[in-house]
Symmetry: C2
Subunit: 233 residues, 2 copies
């Protein structure tokens, strides 16, 4: 049974134009058909399509689960997008399947990519949410300057993964605490600059190493997301 | 400094035609240039290019490390390739970066893909080995019928990951023992058939679940490889 993203009000859900088109035009769905609906905020509902309009679809819900498969921790990865966008798209898809809550794109000193297509990123995330039957849609934040991002309010467990041996780096696996919120900064192909690492440390970020291996940007990000979920599950 | 794959004999290494072309034609390397060479079997050597021939390159080695970053366990994933080959290619690349020793492609009852381009797979693996500075080249085995593969000699820790709740499944994370050899079977998009699961169990494979999540084939495979390396490191 397929999952759609929509608004849930009481015992009814409404699918937006794009989701409705997909249901009625692409999949030739009919009134009475059973589907899953999520609001993307934790609710997973089951229901029957009760009305098909030109730009929306109404669903009468029979079961609603609140906080569906909610994890007691949040993972936020802030990452400098790679030159080859496919690599980041794959990271997004795999992270959503395994479990991630927020992704921010960073503009860093060594970044080769200075822009991203946020709408396309959101589509990839929505598609992965639906495919892997999730009830929470991770938040995707547009590119932001590294130094500006540091000024935000961040969780206590904030880390910067880098390869610069001039700085002290703790071993990721050894320092992460279970069941809490995490923020991990992942640098571009040329790593974070010394100034960026210093600035992050001044803002309370802990320098970490993700192991001895030479990992690509998206592999480092995946390793931290898979690792945190592995440890906490 | 770049890594090349070649034959190592005593204090000399010879790069094959393809690697030599890459060095001299693509990167315009010269005699005297320092490079890394691996034999793909655990040796990592450093040396200077001493001779450039039309189809081979000789390297005089100054340092040779045996068993470079050798892990005390082996991971073998046998997987039914996905319809979209890009997904499997991504799995191969990420697995090599994180650590894998052998990949076998399985022809299963629900397999949509009945052939693979083994040479292309090997190229992807070589490229990932070189990019991530590994000294061991994982073995890639051509498509084999599921029932034939089961007959081989396999390590004690052999598992079949599937989603069929008619069979008992152990939780992967809870049953895996540290520092040993592992073989994990990962099914196609439509899962293994009942007969295949039964046959695997008869051959001593343990049915496992990789968690509550609905994971794509390549994500399930990645989850097991990341998880095993995370646990053992």
């Amino acid at each position: 049974m397929r999952l759609y993203i929509g608004n849930i009000n009481g015992n009814f859900a409404e699918l937006n134009s794009e989701e409705s088109q997909h249901f009625s035009k692409v999949l030739r769905g009919k009134i009475g058909q059973e589907i899953y609906v999520t609001d993307g905020l934790g609710k997973l509902a089951k229901g029957k399509v009760s009305q098909i309009n030109s730009k929306s679809i109404e669903v009468e819900l029979s079961e609603i689960q609140e906080n569906f498969e909610q994890r007691p921790y949040q993972i936020h990865v802030a990452i400098a997008p790679t030159k080859n966008m496919e690599r980041i798209e794959f990271f997004m898809e795999k992270s959503v399947e395994i479990g991630i809550d927020e992704i921010t794109f960073l503009k860093t000193f060594h970044s080769e990519r200075k822009n991203i297509n946020l709408e396309r990123c959101q589509k990839i995330v929505h598609s992965a949410v639906k495919q892997s039957l999730k009830a929470s849609v991770p938040k995707i934040n547009d590119l932001i300057k590294f130094s500006d991002f540091l000024k935000f309010n961040h969780p206590e467990n904030k880390m910067i993964a880098h390869c610069d041996s001039n700085f002290e780096r703790k071993e990721f696996k050894k320092i992460i605490k279970p069941v809490t919120d995490y923020l991990i900064l992942i640098g571009p192909e040329g790593d974070f600059s010394k100034e960026e690492i210093q600035l992050a440390e001044q803002n309370g970020f802990i320098g970490i190493s993700l192991g001895n291996q030479r990992l690509r940007t998206e592999t480092a990000a995946l390793n931290s997301v898979f690792g945190l979920n592995w440890m906490n599950n």
